[in-house]
Symmetry: C2
């Protein structure tokens, strides 16, 4: 029962994304709802900036979906900071029940998987699932203070500043959540914290293989299969590992970490962080699904589960990957009681940030 | 929908507990399955000892329930260490899907609440929900290295070494999970990390009040109402706060943090840590329910959601409390397909610890 096939119709009603200045210059810049120009968000610390980012993501996702906070039954989410403080302190401001999770950069799909099971079984009607990361708070917690100016090895990745919030709901939309697979923790013995892609690739392989077996789907059934943040090297390792399982990831495979930056940006193997798959899913993927360009999507966020303490104590890095399968509902507008949500201009609500509004093409 | 009333019969099939030497001398010593005499568990670091404790808890809970690891669909849990590494590294050894959570010392009831919803809706048949803490790993992560010999203020609590694992199942037992309430994050402005009870009491008050309203139950309907680890001061604050809501917590109210140590132990306001409510629930409470002494129990684990970073940056401490309601099923043995589980002697399975076996009265 590692894979759960939803019995009822559960949808991603809307998604909202915000990213930092660097991500806002990348190939997906036109898909994000909002690009922050000042990554401090006028806060005194990067940790408080990250918290503000998450709050703004949630408030705006709820608004974009045509709902109010009082319509939301639960906030389900987590983040990379110790004791998931960005999520907990955001939940403090929301006055809705909070279900805190942790699976590192796999948080987005873990949150969506739990949320969709809750909505499928009428535990809730509307849930906000959200996560984000901030480059500067992650750097100083996991690696070194930025002020030290440490060099990075070529296998390193770049924690994105940004994130996404999804409204999981029983209100129909064009994006239905079809099934979810919770991953196992897998460790192939990588101990280099600057090579996270390699540490997470085996977990991604295991989850994708399991999901395909349990749903009896083939790679070619999907318009796109996306991993969270394996980066360039990790993706190549995943392709190799899958080949050993006689599964050929073709042109329809991509990785959010490889998509979010372009080659002129000095980000080594690409983007990482819980916000990486969260922002790509809730912008590019949902946009393509709403248009009908993607009809079936397998989204597999990937997480590296070490801490600085385990690394210092010589432990290797376990990985995890949780998968959700999304299906395009062409006839959504014909559903009874359908509440048609009009895409709004990306005007940021409730935020004191005076950053330039991103003139999104969406 | 903050409270979910389970539609089907979902049970705590078994629970298993292990505690450290200090807890093993306390008033509940005869209820614990196993008392560790050497709190390093023969590991090189306290963090690795904590991880071993959690692994042993899970393996032995599964065994005590008469199941095998392959019968378990998910491990749902978290712990207090940064990036919940005790849980993640334990999950690595189990080869079952892992759902990582974080709500600090409210982890036990958060895990049980999610697990029971999964079993209720046939997402899973058997889930192990588990958490634990280790005094020495918590001290050096949250406060000071033990070697410094810092003094503690009188409002401080003592993170317990120990924990518990529950098997949540559709196989009948005498302990049925009736309903669950997920809490909101509440912050009354306490910033003293040596006064966690005060920081968590408002969240406990809110969750108990909400649970009573939603289930239409009265305080007197319960044989015992237990909070997680408010400690002596926090419990008194909770009693006051509830009085302001016109709810009188009577003789049937207690707090796991107050129960686990006796007055001769220098633990100030009492026990704390995710393992506190986990070990009291899975030993004393389950034992009393199996005997029929407790027929209806409200278990409310409580968590303080700060991190050392938020404290350093001047933030106050938000609290959360999740509740589960347990009901005694007198006629359990008459259920069809009932698998009668015989309580085993507390012989530790798969552990290399050569600690003295606790001659439990259970």
């Amino acid at each position: 029962m590692q894979t759960y096939k939803l019995k009822n119709n559960v949808y991603i009603l809307e998604g909202f994304t915000m990213v930092g200045p660097l991500e806002g210059k990348g190939p997906l810049k036109d898909y994000f709802d909002y690009v922050i120009q000042d990554d401090t968000l006028k806060e005194k610390t990067f940790e408080k900036a990250e918290r503000k980012l998450l709050y703004d993501l949630i408030i705006n996702a709820v608004d974009k979906a045509g709902l109010k906070l009082c319509d939301i039954d639960f906030f389900v989410g987590g983040d990379l900071l110790n004791q998931i403080v960005s999520s907990s302190y955001t939940a403090r401001e929301l006055n809705i029940p909070f279900i805190g999770l942790y699976s590192a950069c796999a948080n987005m799909t873990e949150s969506l998987a739990i949320s969709s099971i809750f909505v499928d079984n009428k535990v809730a009607n509307n849930i906000v699932a959200a996560t984000c990361t901030h480059f500067s708070s992650a750097e100083r917690q996991y690696r070194f203070p930025l002020e030290l100016g440490n060099q990075r090895p070529p296998t390193a990745q770049w924690t994105i500043t940004g994130g996404g919030a999804s409204i999981v709901s029983n209100i129909p939309s064009k994006i239905r959540i079809d099934s979810v697979t919770f991953g196992k923790v897998i460790d192939y013995g990588i101990s280099d914290v600057n090579n996270m892609g390699a540490a997470m690739a085996p977990a991604a392989c295991d989850t994708i293989k399991t999901h395909l077996e349990n749903t009896k789907h083939k790679i070619s059934d999907y318009d796109i299969i996306l991993t969270g943040d394996l980066g360039k090297l990790g993706s190549e390792i995943l392709i190799d590992l899958m080949e050993h399982e006689n599964i050929i990831l073709g042109q329809n495979y991509s990785d959010c970490g490889c998509m979010i930056y372009d080659k002129t940006e000095k980000v080594f193997m690409g983007g990482s962080g819980a916000g990486c798959s969260a922002s790509v899913l809730n912008s590019y993927v949902l946009y393509k699904m709403k248009k009908g360009d993607f009809k079936r999507v397998l989204m597999v966020s990937t997480g590296a589960l070490m801490s600085t303490t385990t690394s210092q104590q010589g432990d290797t890095i376990p990985g995890i990957a949780h998968a959700i399968e999304l299906v395009y509902e062409a006839n959504c507008d014909n559903f009874p009681n359908n509440k048609i949500i009009k895409a709004k201009n990306s005007k940021l609500k409730n935020s004191k940030t005076k950053a330039k509004n991103n003139k999104s093409k969406i």
